[in-house]
Every structure is written in structure tokens, then in C-alpha cells.
């Protein structure tokens, strides 16, 4: 069971080629992060997973089903896409209704809806906001409501588009823990450009770099994030830890540079210094 892209091309009506020959497989249970600059095609790519965008050439298969042969609603049952900006989707009078919206669309039974909504509100700490207006909440709370309203139908594949935008450090930490908790039961695909956030992510994800509608890199986060050339090509900020080690190496220190972890870097530096001091 997987999401498979076979030589996918997508051209917008105005001629812009957003996706250029992307071939990719995301197996069930994987944790994938997609990174790249604005305009690289990241959001366009994830929109092909649930049929919002159908390729102009090539095909996308979700669990073996060609996305051209299914409706967006049918595909969304399996692929839950949480959009960047909750202000583009919140509209109900209460948080409860907001979270229940998708369930009603998918035709769940009333008691099932009640059960799931209760669970979602609890999981995201929104119990106290059940009767509140989603439009009156703070930015962080709105993001939780948006996430809850997608997870409530338990999609197999969960796609998060820029979940860290506008979040402070503590909120990002909680987000990492949340994602970690979600991983056991489903496939998580995250689009972001926050390099340090991904560097701190455990377990380490598979990392896909995109630029200009093409795949620049596809491999382990530790390898790609510590490769300055590819990071620069994807117009991302270089993570600080490998950058320190790289600068050290250029000053003559015999250190490895493929490290993301602060503790590991400390150990490397200390041992290099012992060596240096003789």
C-alpha cells in the first residue's frame, strides 16, 4: 500500500510547469518531509495525492487507485491534507461543528461522529473550547482545530502543509511530539522549510528536496541536511550544527561534518580538542 507517482507532470493553464517529471513512492507507514523554496511545487505535489490536482502527464496511484478514477472526496478519506492557513477553512459556529464537518461530509453515523469528535477534542486539548467560535481563537489554537478536524476521520496518509508557520519554539516542540505520536498508526508527510525543526525531529524522516518542480534529493535527513550544496540549491537556511563543524574543518580541525545533533557535535569537538592538545 503506497502513494505512487509515475513521471508526473503538471502544467497550470497559464503555462507554468509546476511539476516536471516527478517519480516517487511513499510506502505506508513512512515519515516523509518535503522541503524547498516557495514556488518549488511542494504544495502542488501534495495536492496530487488527494486528487485536487490531476497530473497533465503521468499518473498518481493511491493504494493502487489512479487519482483520475476517483473523486477528491473519495481520495480524501485516505489522504488527509491539512492546509497551511486555518483562516482559509474555519467557518463553523462552534469548534465541535468544525471538527465534525468532514465526518458529516463522509456520511458517518451520528453516534460515531460524537465519539470521534470527543476523541479529537481530547487529543488536541480542545475540550474547553467545544462551544467556542473557531474564528475567535488564537493562531495556535486555530491550527490545533484545523489538525483535529482532519485527524478526526483518521486518514491513512496525513499530509501537513507548513505546520510550523507562525509558531513559537514551545509550540514547535509540542508539534514534534504530536507528530511522533501520530507516526505509529499512519503515514505522515510534512511540507516545510524550517530546517532546524526537521533537524530536531525524531525519528529522523526521509527528506525530499524540491526545486523548480523537480526532485533535487531524496534520502535520509541526516545526509541531506548536512550537505551544504544541496541545502543551498533548495534555498534553505543551513542548519547551524553541521555549519559549525564545517567551519571548524576549514580551519584545520579533523572533525566529521555529517552531524545534526548538538550533543554529538559537542562530543566530536571535545575529542578533536583532546587530540589537538595532545
Amino acid at each position: 500500500m503506497a502513494i505512487e507517482l509515475e513521471d508526473v507532470w503538471f502544467v497550470y493553464p497559464n503555462g507554468v510547469e509546476a511539476l516536471r517529471g516527478i517519480s516517487l513512492t511513499i510506502e505506508e507507514g513512512e515519515f516523509v518531509v518535503i522541503m524547498g523554496p516557495n514556488g518549488a511545487g511542494k504544495t502542488t505535489l501534495v495536492k496530487t495525492f488527494n486528487g485536487l490536482i490531476r497530473p497533465t502527464r503521468g499518473r498518481v496511484l493511491v493504494d493502487g487507485v489512479d487519482t483520475r478514477d476517483a473523486t477528491v472526496a473519495e481520495l480524501s478519506r485516505k489522504v488527509g491534507l491539512v492546509f497551511q492557513n486555518p483562516d482559509h477553512q474555519l467557518f463553523c459556529e462552534t469548534v465541535e461543528e468544525e471538527v465534525a464537518f468532514a465526518l458529516r461530509n463522509f456520511g458517518f453515523e451520528d453516534d460515531e461522529i460524537r465519539r470521534r469528535v470527543d476523541w479529537a477534542l481530547r487529543t488536541f486539548g480542545l475540550e474547553g473550547y467545544r462551544d467556542a467560535s473557531p474564528l475567535a481563537l488564537s493562531g495556535g489554537e486555530k491550527k490545533r482545530v484545523a489538525l483535529a478536524s482532519v485527524l478526526v476521520w483518521e486518514p491513512k496518509y496525513l499530509v501537513l502543509d507548513e505546520p510550523t508557520l507562525g509558531q513559537d519554539y514551545a509550540q514547535k516542540k509540542r508539534l514534534r511530539e504530536l507528530i511522533r505520536g501520530l507516526l505509529g498508526d499512519r503515514t505522515v508527510i510534512m511540507v516545510t522549510h524550517d530546517v532546524e525543526f526537521v533537524a530536531d525531529m525524531r525519528p529522523r524522516p526521509r527528506l525530499i528536496l524540491m526545486s523548480g518542480g523537480r526532485l533535487l534529493a531524496d534520502g535520509r535527513a541526516e545526509e541531506i541536511l548536512t550537505d551544504p550544496e544541496r541545502i543551498d540549491m533548495a534555498r534553505l537556511v543551513r542548519p547551524q550544527v553541521p555549519e559549525v563543524l564545517r567551519n571548524l574543518r576549514s580551519l584545520g580541525a579533523p572533525v566529521r561534518t555529517d552531524v545534526l545533533d548538538v550533543e554529538e557535535a559537542r562530543d566530536i569537538i571535545l575529542s578533536a580538542l583532546e587530540v589537538g592538545r595532545g
Binding site: 507562525g166 542548519p239 576549514s250 580541525a253 548538538v262 580538542l273
Partner: protein
């Protein structure tokens, strides 16, 4: 004389029960580059609004204390007067550009002030060049990237020729390339044009190298206020959940293992150089 003086500032939005600002005393000297940070909801945005008069003139509520910018008490002067001394740049660049070309937008402020045409032209040209938007001046806002839009917004504010530039999380909506553009621009304005800068930002690793001072807010109060080396290495900062840059964390770990550097590094390059100082003989 400090360019900004704040005494006993307290503010509660009308209709709200909790004060958004709960006792702030602060003074900022001309030319300083101050980074303002703190967890979401700590009052950064409210504080920024107090600096140019949006509070108390646009946002009403219970205002106590005094805020004096460039010698003007914000309670006694209209926003349009204060706007000539304090420029405020907001998070979302899209909503700060209202005209159909960049140039027209930059002219908006000076036009509002009723300045003569030659003066408006002079200011607009200067602001466009200072922000690197001269070549893009006839483009429509929706044709620009996020970074370019935010630069245009900054140009619009610069055309008012303020002494102080306040930016409320200007890189929130931008990708890394756009964020780098803006921060480089603000650093340049601070250095070359001697502007006083107050920048509210979460991603301290991007701005710490430029800051003269970091102020950490918590629940409407100032919790920490000092040079980056002090603030970022204090235990309270970690407690408050502020995003300490990795190099600072690394420095702390090395210090805990007995390795002392001559100062606290704020960038990877700086850290490497400081380490090289200590390990003189590993070449």
C-alpha cells in the same frame, strides 16, 4: 536622551479582562538594534502597537503609564504625527500594499502628509533604492514574491523618514530566502542609516548576530533584557521556551564540559573561530 522611553506601561484591550501589557519600563537609545521575543501571546504585537500610537488611538482600552518616542508622548499626538518618527511594518506584506504599483504605494505615506511633489519624489526614490526595489517599482504587488512585497512595505514606511523602525514578525509569512532578504535589509538600515530598530522575531538564530539587545517578554511583562550573550545563556530563557540558537546551546554544553570560550558565539562562523582560538595547536 533615549529615543524611546516607557514608564509603567499597562494596557488592557477594551472588552478584555486580562491586561495585554502588565507593567513595562524600558528605555532605548538611538541607533540600537533591539530584538523582541517571547512565547506566543506574550504581548509583542501589543507592545509594537504602543510605539507608534495605534495604541491608544486605533485600539481603545485601558491605557496607563507613558510612552515617549522622539520626545512625543503617544497619548498627546495623533498617529499621523508619530508615524513620521516611528515606522511600523506588519507581519503580512500583502495587506500593507494597497496601490497598483510599488512606486505608488511607497508614495502613499508622503502623499498623506501633503508634501510637495519634488519632496515626495525624492523620498520615494531614496526609499526604493535603499530597499533594492528600484528595478521593481512599476510592478503590481501580486506580481512580487513574499520577500519583495515585504521590502516594498518597508520602503513605504521608510518614505516617512522615521528615526525608528519597528517590525512585528516581518518574516512570518516568508520562506527562508525571503526571510534572509528582509533581515539583511534591516541590518543594513541599522548600520548604514543609523536607524533604531525594534524587531519582534521568533527565529533568534537569524537575528541574534545583529542584535545589540534582546528583550524577552512574558505575559505582558519584560522577563529578560540585555545583550544577546547574557539573555540567550540565561536559564530563564530556556525556561520561557525561547528558541535558543543551536550555537548557543552548543556553547553551553561545551562550557559544562569545561571548555570555556572567550565569548558567546552567535553564528556558526563565530563559534568556529572561537574554537580555533582555544585549540591553537590542532593545525
Amino acid at each position: 536622551m533615549p529615543i524611546i522611553e516607557i514608564e509603567g506601561l499597562r494596557f488592557t484591550y477594551s472588552g478584555s479582562r486580562k491586561p495585554a501589557l502588565n507593567g513595562i519600563d524600558l528605555s532605548i537609545e538611538k541607533g540600537e538594534f533591539v530584538v523582541l521575543t517571547g512565547p506566543s501571546g506574550c504581548g509583542k504585537t501589543t507592545f509594537c502597537r504602543c510605539l507608534n500610537g495605534l495604541i491608544p488611538h486605533f485600539y481603545h482600552g485601558d491605557f496607563q503609564g507613558r510612552v515617549v518616542v522622539a520626545g512625543l508622548d503617544t497619548r498627546e499626538h495623533e498617529i499621523w504625527e508619530l508615524a513620521q518618527h516611528v515606522g511600523l511594518v506588519f507581519q503580512n506584506p500583502e495587506n500593507q500594499l494597497f496601490c497598483l504599483t510599488v512606486e505608488a504605494d511607497v508614495a502613499f505615506g508622503p502623499e498623506n502628509l501633503g508634501l510637495p511633489r519634488e519632496e515626495i519624489r525624492r523620498r520615494v526614490d531614496w526609499a526604493l533604492r535603499a530597499t533594492g526595489m528600484w528595478e521593481l517599482r512599476f510592478r503590481a504587488p501580486h506580481e512580487l514574491s513574499g520577500g519583495q512585497q515585504q521590502r516594498a512595505a518597508i520602503a513605504g514606511v521608510l518614505a516617512m523618514e522615521p528615526e525608528v523602525l519597528v517590525l512585528d514578525e516581518p518574516t512570518s509569512f516568508l520562506d527562508p530566502a525571503g526571510a534572509a532578504e528582509i533581515i539583511a535589509l534591516v541590518a543594513k538600515l541599522s548600520r548604514e542609516h543609523r536607524m533604531t530598530v525594534i524587531l519582534a522575531e521568533h527565529r533568534l538564530e537569524l537575528v541574534a548576530p545583529y542584535a545589540d539587545r534582546i528583550i524577552v517578554m512574558e505575559e505582558g511583562r519584560i522577563a529578560l533584557n540585555g545583550p544577546p550573550e547574557e539573555v540567550l545563556t540565561s536559564g530563564k530563557a530556556t525556561e520561557l521556551g525561547v528558541g535558543i540558537p543551536k550555537v548557543v546551546k552548543l556553547h553551553a554544553l561545551l562550557a559544562a564540559s569545561g571548555l570555556r570560550l572567550s565569548r558567546v558565539p552567535l553564528s556558526p562562523r563565530e563559534m568556529a573561530e572561537l574554537l580555533a582560538e582555544v585549540a591553537k595547536d590542532w593545525r
